[in-house]
Amino acid sequence: MGEAESIGLLETKYSRRNFIKGVIAVGATASSAGYFIGGSGLLGAQSVPGAAERLITLNVNGQQRRVDVLPNETLAMTLRYRLNLTGTKLGCDRAECGACTVLIDGVNRYGCSTLTHQVRGSSVTTIEGLENPDTGELSLVQQAVIDEGGFQCAFCAPGFIMSMTAMVNENPNPTRAEAAHALSGNLCRCGDYHKILNCAMRAAELARSV
């Protein structure tokens, strides 16, 4: 990491979210102006060029959700603060910890590093979408987590559970080393990896027996 990036007040210029803003230069400029003139990014929406495109339809947990999304907005932000799906956590907001992991078309991805506009037309699954929508029954991975008593503070748990879900779908017969590899993009600071791997192996076992 370069020096300038690691100074608190320069966060404004070099944070991941602002980096992403820079990538989508037109949208970024427009939306910043929107904040400045109109106050709230949401309230100022009408004054922003291309505002009509901001109202998009997302497929989240099997439901079509109409939502107003800034061009530079990350999926984690949309899920947490617009759709109130707060099970998806933010631990770093820059692709380091994995707490924001969700499934996009079944693949585990960091929600903090995915632009919401990129997932139009995709199916997004969050921790809230794992239970059976009709019966409320837990998913196999969630059941395994309960059975094995995994996680302590569990702030990282939703991200791990989503990665485990992707792993079990991809490879329901993993070795412990393969499971450790599949979950290595998620950080647990309580150091509960032993039990988390037990959960992953148990989930795979449950998946095989279905």
Binding site: S6, S40, R80, L90, R94, G191
Partner: protein, 808 residues
Amino acid sequence: MIRKPHKDKSDLTLIGTPMRKIEGLDKATGRALFTDDIVLPGMLHGKILRSPHPHARIVAIDVSEAEALEGVHAVITGGDIPIKYGIIPWTADEYPLCIDRVRYIGDAVAAVAAVDEDLAIRALEFIHVEYEELPAFLDPYESLAADGSTPYVHEPKKEGGNGNVTKQVCLEFGEVDDVMAGSDIVVEGEYFFEGSTHAAIEPHCAIGLWDGVGKLTVWSATQVPHYLHRELARVLELDPARIRVIQPLVGGAFGGKSEPFDLEFCVAKLSMLAARPVKILYTREEVFYAHRGRHPFHMNYRMGCTEEGKLTSVNAEIVLDGGAYASFGLVTTYYAGQLLCAPYSMSAYRFDSTRVYTNKPACGPKRGHGSVQPRFAFEVQIDKLAERVDLDPFEFRRRNFIGSNTRTVNQLRITSNGFLECLESVERASRWRRKFRQLPFGRGVGVAGSTYISGTNYPIYPNDMPHSGVQMQVDRSGRVSVFSGASEIGQGCDSMVAYIAAEELGVPLEYVRVLRGDTDFTPVDLGAYSSRVTFMLGNAAIDAATKLREMVQQAVAGEWKIEANEVLLAGGIAMWASDTERQMPIREAFNLAEARFGTLGATGWYNTPKDVHGDYRGGTIGASPAYSFTAHVAEVEVDVETGVVEVEKIWVAHDCGRALNPVLVEGQMEGSAYMGFGEALMEEQIFKSPEQGRAGLHNAPSLLDYRIPTSLDTPEFESLIVESIDPEGPYGAKEAGEGPLHPSIPAIANAIYDAIGVRMDKLPFSPPNMWRAIEEAREVGALGKPAFPGGLPVTPEAAPARSMSSGS
């Protein structure tokens, strides 16, 4: 408090068995609420402007442009909250926002509240601060040698004093120099423990809500809601009776959230000015600046022993690099010496420890506060002494075992002590006797031991009130409600009180509700620090539940015309001990009790015994009602060409008194060993030097560059629970959350020595540090397998595996 003997294991129905955590379902479904998950109507977002200089005077601040922005509702600077705060009442040295001076890169200067987070970030650019840069102190020894020719980090307390010194402690027990001079062997070593940080995955977050007429509510991801409550009242000059602190679930803490932070004062003040709720969520980078992590320790240890391997005299000189503020530093300075006097006895002991300020983020308490660093040095010293007297390091430790029901050289009272069983457990499980000095070059095993407190004997502010209180209500439905002010940070304290309520009142676990973490309706618990919660909250919960149980037993006994002590409550029923066919549902038993005694509720509390330490100045610091004990064996493989150390496995034996729920105890043991492992091999909270440019800038304030272990890095652990049944702990329990961290680091260091004959006296054992040490050893011909004690390798036949006497 009059103590009854603990129940036998056979009389316990739930305690001691594996049980689920009560919030497990919420945590597996994403429903568990953490602070940042809370959104209030009309809520604004706050951001804090931070210093780009390690040391500078604030000449002027102009916030007018920021204030004028539409959508910005409030801007505050230091002058708006001009009272210092600090967790230790005697060393409050921080303003919520700096007033005239900044002391590290990241120090808080101003804060804004705006309609959304992006606008709040932009508004910071419109705050203009004029700084006059000052020379910065980055090296603790330069800080110590300062003569006042440039401004100290803080003003000296006495004229002519060195303002860079936070605290100096020198305590001597016995005639250290005389005893040292009479020792057969003396080993001296210089050790350096690099600082590390907590890196909880949940960043700090707080929400302030001012109701406009005098009531303030603050939600915070804190480990210490009670102390936060007090400091908010004092610093904001509000009536504490009109402040409510709510602690949602906390996403990891490890000591990193155990004092008030700038954001909590800022959300409160901004809310008061804006008349709207205000939330601040730290960025990951800000979490690194907030820090309060492990102090870097520079240590010199001289230790003597007899030819027979009896420890005689210990002399320690320690310099603690404290960073810019005091934090818990006064306590850390004492803990650096006070907590080293067990599990081994010694006849004389002196420590001289000095904490200095530097222009870096403040250090504070991290899991194993104050004693992880000196324990590393101490246990490596023990390994060196054992080698000098040709003893197996296990045998050396056994010969110096301090015993149970005794006093340490610094007069701390030791009650239960399962350290010998811990040693025996890891020795047997690791097959030590077949491995030590016998594995091929490059592979090795190492052992280390330690002790830790089960809660600190005195609260942070002097008072005689209980350390922990619990309130319980019994409902006509059979439900039990537990009101607990303890801080659930992942360790399981909410579950622990539920287990106790279910055990004592005979209800199924799902009949217990724990209502928690809200100063408006829960009794005071001092917080999740110093490994105090199980011991203190557990005793308080037993106290409350026992009062209720006795009422229920009396009521049922009256109905059945039997003695109260013949009534058993378990599994949702009340029954007669003499004829267990005679039963009634617990709900009916509760109804009988309510009819007889009125509405059923009870409070319970715990306070510490006061005769457990010496009466010298500082003797109360390090005193605890009970001590836990731990032993580790680590097995490593070292690649001498690359300097890469692989830790294959760590065997962890821990005396937790009694494992109330062995699943949670194992989790704490593994989590502790994991954290120690990370510090040993990879973690470094370091800062740029002047030569590197941007002096004082954190080298890597991100979770990619500050490397913490992943699922691929973390070694295998084997947890071996030892139960010494403490006479004063709840059902005999002691702590498990911090003690098991300590030996990880020296056990790995000692294993590296066994593998390649190279002593690692400096942390971390990262490839660059390892490689340099290996090359130095190679040059002087010291690279190689160390000799077996006594020079004769023992064959496996000559040393059969020992049988186990206890533990599991």
